[in-house]
């Protein structure tokens, strides 16, 4: 498992990390490859932070011979897998107009394996994209998994709950839970997919912060959360018609009747 995840990781690290000393992260990541923990968003850097150029140490870490600047791209090439473009490693070089996408990698760690063993096909997908882990789970077991993640896996901080609307899909909505573990210093995204009109079970009992976050999702998307203590609109007026963040809600659309009755003007546009 570590072989699989190890290979693509240095590439994405190098390309995406805004930090100047990306090579230190690479070194740290490689040194910690034996660590069973999944690659986190940014793990604590243990290697000493090198000075800012970022170019020289990058070359030095990979091939100590390549001290000369002209030799640096040549030295980087064999190390970086063919899928990655060598230009991204070098900020000085012009990036190609259409940057190549880091593909979502399958994410296999002990946690995912044990969840898969327990829930089987309930775990739809586990992937890593740009060093961020995401787990797509079935709506019916979402609450159970979230509770387990909080209690057993120390994901005790629910950063955010939101939704994304894909009107062309049969299952239209993604509900996204972004979790964080103070203990592991690690983020995790849990996604569950629901049809239009399908209900989701509220997680207010697990994290009280979910209260307003779920209310906002209800307000903006019209997704109903069962067992929520008081599910009502939060940002839009209480009797507003429509849910603005749905894709079928046009940018200039408004509840004209509400505007005329409450503000006394013809249109808010």
């Amino acid at each position: 498992m570590s072989e699989e995840t190890k290979e693509p990781n240095p590439v994405s690290v190098e390309n995406s990390a805004p930090a100047s000393s990306s090579s230190a992260i690479v070194a740290a990541a490689e040194a910690k490859a034996a660590n069973p923990g999944p690659p986190s968003d940014s793990r604590p850097i243990e290697a000493a932070a090198p000075p800012l150029t970022g170019e020289k140490p990058a070359a030095a870490a990979k091939a100590p011979v390549a001290a000369e600047k002209s030799a640096a791209p040549a030295a980087t090439k064999p190390v970086v897998p063919a899928a990655a473009k060598p230009a991204a490693a070098e900020p000085a070089k012009p990036a190609p107009p259409k940057p190549e996408a880091p593909k979502p990698e399958p994410w296999n760690c002990d946690l995912v394996c044990s969840l898969k063993a327990q829930y089987g096909s309930g775990i739809r997908e586990a992937s890593t994209y740009a060093r961020q882990n995401c787990l797509v789970v079935d709506n019916s077991i979402a609450l159970e998994i979230l509770l387990r993640l909080r209690d057993d896996e120390t994901f005790n901080y629910c950063v955010d709950i939101t939704a994304v609307h894909y009107p062309k899909r049969e299952v239209q909505f993604d509900i996204v839970y972004i979790l964080y573990s103070f203990h592991k210093n690690e983020r995790l995204r849990i996604k569950t997919q629901v049809r239009d009109g399908e209900h989701v079970r509220s997680v207010v009992a697990i994290w009280s912060t979910a209260d307003w976050l779920e209310r906002e999702v209800f307000d903006m998307f019209g997704i109903v959360f069962d067992e929520h203590p008081e599910l009502k609109r939060i940002l839009m007026p209480d009797d507003w018609q429509g849910h603005p963040l749905r894709k079928d809600y046009a940018i200039l659309q408004q509840d004209a009747e509400w505007v005329q009755n409450n503000i006394g003007i013809e249109s808010a546009q």
Partner: protein, 415 residues
Amino acid sequence: MKELIQSDYKHAKNSESGAGVVDYLPPQSAQNRSGSGTPDYLDLDTKDQTFLDSTEMVLNMGPQHPSTHGVLRVILKLDGEKVLGTECVIGYLHRGVEKIAENRTYAMFNPYVDRMDYVAAVSNGLGYCETVEKLINAEVPARAQYIRVILTELCRIASHQVWLGTHALDIGALTPLFYCFRDREAILGIFEKYCGARLTTHAFRIGGCIYETYEGFEKECTDCCDTFLPKLDEYEELLTTNRIWVKRTKGVGILNAEDCIALGVTGPVLRASGVNWDLRKAQPYEAYKNFDFDIPTGLNGDTYDRYLVRIAEMRQSVRIIRQAVEGLPQGPIMAKVPKIPKPPAGEVYHSIEAPKGELGYFVVSDGSTQPYRVRVRPPSYVNLQALDKMVRGLLVADVVAVIGTLDIVLGEVDR
């Protein structure tokens, strides 16, 4: 619970001396929107009996109340002066920022984020730019990273100055407001010289910074730090041991670490409860791992501790600025990114430590030039949820202190 409200409502209506009993049940809470049999929101855990069976009073604080820092409406349920429960009504400043994002290109949306937390516009821009950079896989040059750090930390100081001035004003100390706004001018001056704007700066672009520093930038930043530290001592002299200040803030609005985490509260409020967690250290972005600074934490999680934490944070910001100015490298300030970024399909969540807490952006790209979805995780919005927990059992005057100590900006709460 429901019966309690109704009987009390009748009682309130019958009482002739109901001068203060206006709008007992505001239209929002009177109707049950969800349609199910859940009890009224405000009355979730009010099993209490009022003192001498007096009438409960419901009072609207806001949306035009000066101490609510904008258009926040808090419905207070009171027993005499004791707060039995609150409900926040927000959304007065809702502009649909997330919807706008779906109809703009990535670069065009950049100025909009400044309008959320408008007293810390630089931080908003930083978070957004970094998220898109993650999406398009761009690495920001070192010089741009340092410039970003300097401006963001200056912005943190400016934001804390606004907080301190208004917070002290709410509690009754008038002088700090003038001091803070006077000293904030120096920072706004730097912003103005750097990018032409004082408040909604739009200082950064996707891929780095668009403006090179002006001549004398480094000196002005160092001078600003040098003059600011004695001023900070002045603030402290006015407040830290001030008897009225201490009485009004110590033990007020306590929030312990467990509650903070359960409520998702971040930033100085979390750190004042003793949790040593700052994204600049936990998941360093930009050049923050090159700098030596501490994370101040509190012990009791009360308003006074939050005050001390923010004061200490300003000192740490000064430390960071000095190091960054000293080590400001030469080189390009802009990565090679396309003028109109077209990120590959994918989604990224990235967050930074804004002055008010964790500011996160969740951006979904469908491979076009416009984001498919931008979700902003606003620290003020999440922190404001803790208000109810913090003020129960306190007095009305303490509500003012607690709203101040939460350091919310309604532009960010409502977006």
